[in-house]
């Protein structure tokens, strides 16, 4: 049996443990001096050595190793002062596009897209939500009509972070309006630099624009950039959405990382903010943060042993609730100072940081956490229906052609 790079058959690397992986990184660093090399050349070499994301297959930046070993790799490269791929800037690519391409892509697509995605040469954005399709994503109206080897796309997308800097996009569009909504969708890997793609900033309640609206007018996408089968877009999109929710809420953090750390530091350094009522609220928040942290660690351990499942939906609910509880408390704790905002001017947001800027910014930004990437209400449906196996709400749109659904 012949195996190509990135072929699933070639995933089975020899068993590697944490010590082995650290040795591999050190050997790599001996041959690739990060201080002497061009940043991009270094990152490409790291990818080619399988040390980008070790749980990916051989030939696609990984070693087919356990996901749990990635921590040791990141640690070794950080210790060596090696350049990184600026993961915050390419978060959508790393967290959502990559796992979807890996799972549903052809070998050509994986080889074409994963390396520049990981090195940051190509920034990705997500063209999913529309003004008329938020929670009901499968009801989206952006149309893709086939014309030979090309698809012609028309529609409007919204809440697209990084669209103004992105070269590529994961896109879901309607390819058949005559079948029920979930069946008429197709998933594409779109080029954001071609004619017909117009990006406009979308101002949010913090005053700035972190997201965009994207208008697609007769945008041409080659059929070779279709991910998965025609009509299979909803199933492909599930991989993206599951990974998104893990990316937003998940991860193993040290104690007092995140918002509770800001509150705890304020409490310790500024005795004048301390009141009895706030004290118990702070301790309740501390306990809630610790419970959320331990849940995140446990989820990470579960992921290391398997695949992200619907259980990941819980982590985003927990994170959103915690952020909103703690940022509200911070303003109360600070009193007068909590009434001041840093800047309402319309401007482009830099890399998003929920913990940055002023307490009022954090309070307002946290309101998005229970909406973006699936509202907490939709996530509760997912937990109830997919984890707990409860029956779905009665539906009026399920066995109806999309074109006949009221909108």
């Amino acid at each position: 049996m012949t195996s190509q790079p990135g072929d699933r058959a070639s995933q089975s690397a020899d068993i590697i443990d944490a010590t082995g992986i650290r040795t591999r990184v050190r050997d790599f660093l001996k041959e690739h001096d990060p201080t002497a090399m061009d940043r991009l050349d270094f990152l490409r070499a790291r990818f080619d050595a399988g040390l980008a994301w070790v749980h990916f297959p051989i030939g696609l930046g990984g070693l087919g190793a356990s996901r749990a070993l990635q921590e040791a790799v990141v640690d070794e490269f950080a210790t060596a002062g090696a350049p990184e791929n600026n993961p915050r800037r390419i978060g959508i690519g790393l967290g959502m596009a990559a796992p979807t391409i890996l799972r549903h892509g052809t070998n050509e697509q994986r080889l074409r897209y994963l390396r520049p995605l990981w090195t940051g040469e190509e920034v990705w954005c997500q063209l999913f939500s529309e003004p008329g399709a938020g929670s009901d994503l499968a009801g989206l109206a952006t149309r893709a009509i086939r014309d030979g080897d090309v698809w012609i796309v028309n529609g409007q997308k919204v809440w697209t972070s990084m669209a103004h800097e992105a070269q590529r996009a994961i896109l879901v569009a309607r390819t058949d309006p005559n079948v029920p909504k979930h069946q008429g969708l197709t998933y594409f890997l779109a080029d954001m630099t071609v004619p017909g793609v117009e990006v406009r900033p979308l101002r949010q309640i913090t005053g700035e624009a972190e997201f965009n609206e994207v208008f697609l007018t007769d945008v041409r996408i080659p059929d070779s950039d279709r991910l998965g089968d025609v009509g299979d877009g909803w199933r492909v999109a599930q991989t993206t959405l599951m990974n998104e929710r893990v990316a937003i809420g998940g991860g193993a953090q040290p104690r007092e990382a995140g918002m509770i750390g800001i509150l705890a530091d304020t409490w310790r350094s500024r005795p004048e903010v301390r009141t009895h009522a706030t004290h118990d609220a702070l301790l309740q928040g501390w306990v809630a943060a610790e419970a959320g942290r331990l849940f995140g660690i446990r989820l990470t351990q579960q992921l290391a042993a398997g695949q992200p499942g619907p259980e990941g939906s819980a982590s985003k609910i927990i994170f959103a609730r915690l952020m909103q509880q703690l940022t509200g408390l911070e303003i109360e704790m600070l009193g007068e100072q909590g009434l001041r905002h840093d800047d309402w001017t319309m401007r482009r947001a830099e890399a998003v940081d929920f913990l940055a800027k002023s307490p009022s910014y954090r309070f307002l930004r946290s309101k998005g956490t229970s909406i973006e990437g699936g509202t907490s209400e939709i996530l509760r449906n997912i937990i109830a229906e997919r984890v707990l196996g409860l029956p779905t709400e009665m539906r009026v749109d399920k066995d109806v052609a999309w074109k006949d659904i009221p909108r």
Partner: protein, 373 residues
């Protein structure tokens, strides 16, 4: 990194405990038993202790125990909570056993390991594991005198798992004593308890003669360690209670029709059970962390136990209350076992200190001082 999952061995242990409980202690039997004079199920205890050998999980093999640890004991407690099993596992196999391990009392430990005897720490069930308050509460009501300095007199109220106990471990200002529960001058009076499946007792010592098993700091440390283990592992029992409540609600949602629909199809209801599940998922992580800290002797055990009781206690009460509400009328009947779980959940939320007491303890442990300080 701390392992918050369950090992294969722990899963196997869970399966055998669950199988025994399903067979020997279904909810219908527990419900009948709570109205008899023997609220504790002695036969079930012997099956658990002798047949499965779980009484000695915390006791080294050299003393006849299983030489396992707190992680395994936590799994047993999850199952006992799930079944609201009326056995003195927490009081004897966790709290009293931990005290004896600190005292190094090998003879009693051998008896506890085999399950032929059980012991109880004679202290109110609400005594917190970490506070000045608990120190004074320990010795307030019991005095020691007599020619050999081993005659005990006094009252202790609301003691857990003392009714079936053969040996009472009595903290006093003059050390920790072991007293035979059947000795002259020992009066163990059952309390009509909120928790029907862990009936409390008021205990009076009227010149009872005991055996001193630890003195001074060793006695204080033994009691503190016992209460810390109790608080840390109680969280696993609470997780068991909560998981029964979530599962039972989900099952009910899949069988109960109203307005021509399964009630589980209503978003207004399914969102509430989803929230119960999210709370349970966090409670499980918190409880596993506390058990693992205890098992490894981590420096973080006091914090882990305080977080466990500050989070898991109220979460379990909330989940049990939701379980009752979401069952509607049947949930308010005596015939349905939900009330046993609600009563256990509420009672447990006070055991070894309320959430508020544990938050106050955390304030000191993690340097978030109160305004007065």
């Amino acid at each position: 990194m701390t392992d918050l999952l369950y090992s294969d061995v722990e899963d196997a242990l869970r399966a055998s405990v669950r199988s025994l409980l399903t067979d020997r202690s279904p909810a219908s039997l527990v419900l009948k038993r709570v109205e008899t004079p023997d609220a504790y199920d002695t036969e079930l205890w012997h099956a658990l202790a002798s047949d499965l050998g779980v009484a000695g999980l915390l006791i080294p093999e050299s003393l006849g125990g299983a030489g396992a640890g707190a992680r395994e004991a936590a799994v047993v407690l999850e199952e006992l909570g799930r079944a609201v099993a009326p056995v003195p596992y927490l009081g004897s196999a966790v709290v009293a056993t931990t005290a004896l391990l600190h005292c190094g009392d090998t003879e009693l430990l051998r008896a506890l390991a085999s399950g032929t005897r059980t012991a109880a720490l004679v202290i109110p069930f609400t005594t917190p594991s970490s506070s000045e308050l608990s120190r004074s509460a320990r010795s307030r009501h019991v005095t020691v005198d007599g020619p050999t300095g081993t005659t005990i007199t006094g009252n202790v109220t609301s003691v857990a798992d003392a009714l079936p106990a053969d040996v009472l471990l009595v903290p006093t200002a003059d050390g920790l004593f072991a007293v035979d529960a059947r000795a002259d001058g020992v009066f163990v009076t059952p309390v009509v308890s909120l928790d029907l499946t862990r009936q409390l007792a008021d205990i009076t010592f009227d010149g009872a003669v005991g055996r001193r098993i630890a003195t001074g700091a060793a006695a204080t440390d033994a009691v503190r360690a016992a209460l810390l283990a109790g608080a840390a592992l109680l969280a696993s029992e609470q997780v068991g209670i909560a998981s029964w409540c979530v599962d039972t609600t989900v099952d009910y949602f899949k069988t109960r029709y109203q307005f021509g629909r399964l009630i589980g199809s209503y978003q207004a209801l399914k969102h509430r059970v989803a929230d119960m599940w999210v709370d349970l998922a966090q409670a499980r992580a918190v409880a596993r962390y506390a058990a693992d800290c205890l098992a490894t002797g981590s420096d973080d055990t006091s914090v882990a136990a305080a977080v466990a009781q500050a989070f898991v206690g109220p979460a379990t009460v909330r989940i049990a209350e939701e379980c009752l509400q979401l069952h509607g009328g049947i949930g308010f009947t005596w015939e349905h076992p939900i009330h046993l779980y609600l009563k256990r959940a509420k009672s447990d939320s006070l055991a070894y200190g309320t959430a508020a007491i544990h938050r106050a303890a955390l304030a000191n442990l993690v340097d978030l001082p109160s305004p007065a300080a």
